[in-house]
Point group: C2
Chain length 208, copies 2
Amino acid sequence: MQRKLSIGTVERLIHYYRCVEELIIEGQTCISSEELAEKTGYTPAQVRKDLTWHGALGVPGKGYATDVVQQVLRKLLGKHRPRLVGLVGVGHLGLALLRHPDFHKHGFHIVAGFDKELTKIGHSIDGVYIYDVSQIEKVCPLLKIEMGLVAVPPLEAQKVSDALIRAGVLGILNFAAVRLSVPSHVHLENVDLSIELEKLSCRIEGWL
Amino acid sequence: MQRKLSIGTVERLIHYYRCVEELIIEGQTCISSEELAEKTGYTPAQVRKDLTWHGALGVPGKGYATDVVQQVLRKLLGKHRPRLVGLVGVGHLGLALLRHPDFHKHGFHIVAGFDKELTKIGHSIDGVYIYDVSQIEKVCPLLKIEMGLVAVPPLEAQKVSDALIRAGVLGILNFAAVRLSVPSHVHLENVDLSIELEKLSCRIEGWL
């Protein structure tokens, strides 16, 4: 069985990866754990522990080769191949997701949109074709879509998720404020924006 | 000094609160730790520990009075008074936030929008007036806004945050994919949607 990582570890690895990616673009070939720690907001000891544990070894006095760190983390984070994504719900949130400047940069490509509104179906938005929501099961396997973004109203979210799952999608990022039920082989992440506001509220109250 | 809670604890308390709030609307006056655990996805032992620790005492064999749990958690989560929120950036993401069905329900009221586009300034959207972004420092104190949503492009995010901070805002929820610098008395939460996709990707790879 594959070793599991904690959410905290994964978040740190993502930040290291993004950092070395930028450094490589800037032409930097080496980075010390202190510098990587400062840029990502963790401690040098944590950086060293994480990188050593995952097989990126540093050279004493020189640091870590940025391309080695990139290579090790790329595989681990599943970034060695592009991820094809389907977007269900092309309302304001859907459009914001479609135009998110970072998705493409980080290897996530929205290759199809789905909506039930006739005014949207059959049009392309920023190069992404919008299909009728009833076509999810047909289109996703054809386009090899493996992740779905659910940006529809709460009452419709389970229905479109079921269609995505029947279409073979392996991961769903759900923005609807409703708890979805998915089979065990499908991975689900929920983005609940009002929870983020609640956390901020607790910080203001001094509890966090 | 005020006792601090972990992010995990705060998330659990938010879910308990939302659950008992719904139960109260449905007329349920009592709930067992087992039932609350089942509805929120935690263990009964965790529920009992959390509620006891925060002063909501159950009655053996009967469970917890829903109104007592609500009262205890309401104060703790800062929900005893409405939170007035200013939205900076009324693009697609901003509009999705403005129309988010849950913000109002959970006590967060967007009372002003700010944008730099002349076609938006001076209009009301769903009852929320849109001001020129240059008016942040003037409008926020007048409307007693204490939280800001930053939904502008990355390059503009620091500038509008600085204006919100000068306007006396205590908490910022940042949607721009950029690290903001804020003084220590201001609380910052970042929502990085591409990180959520990365996590989902790691789940598909079997690391999470």
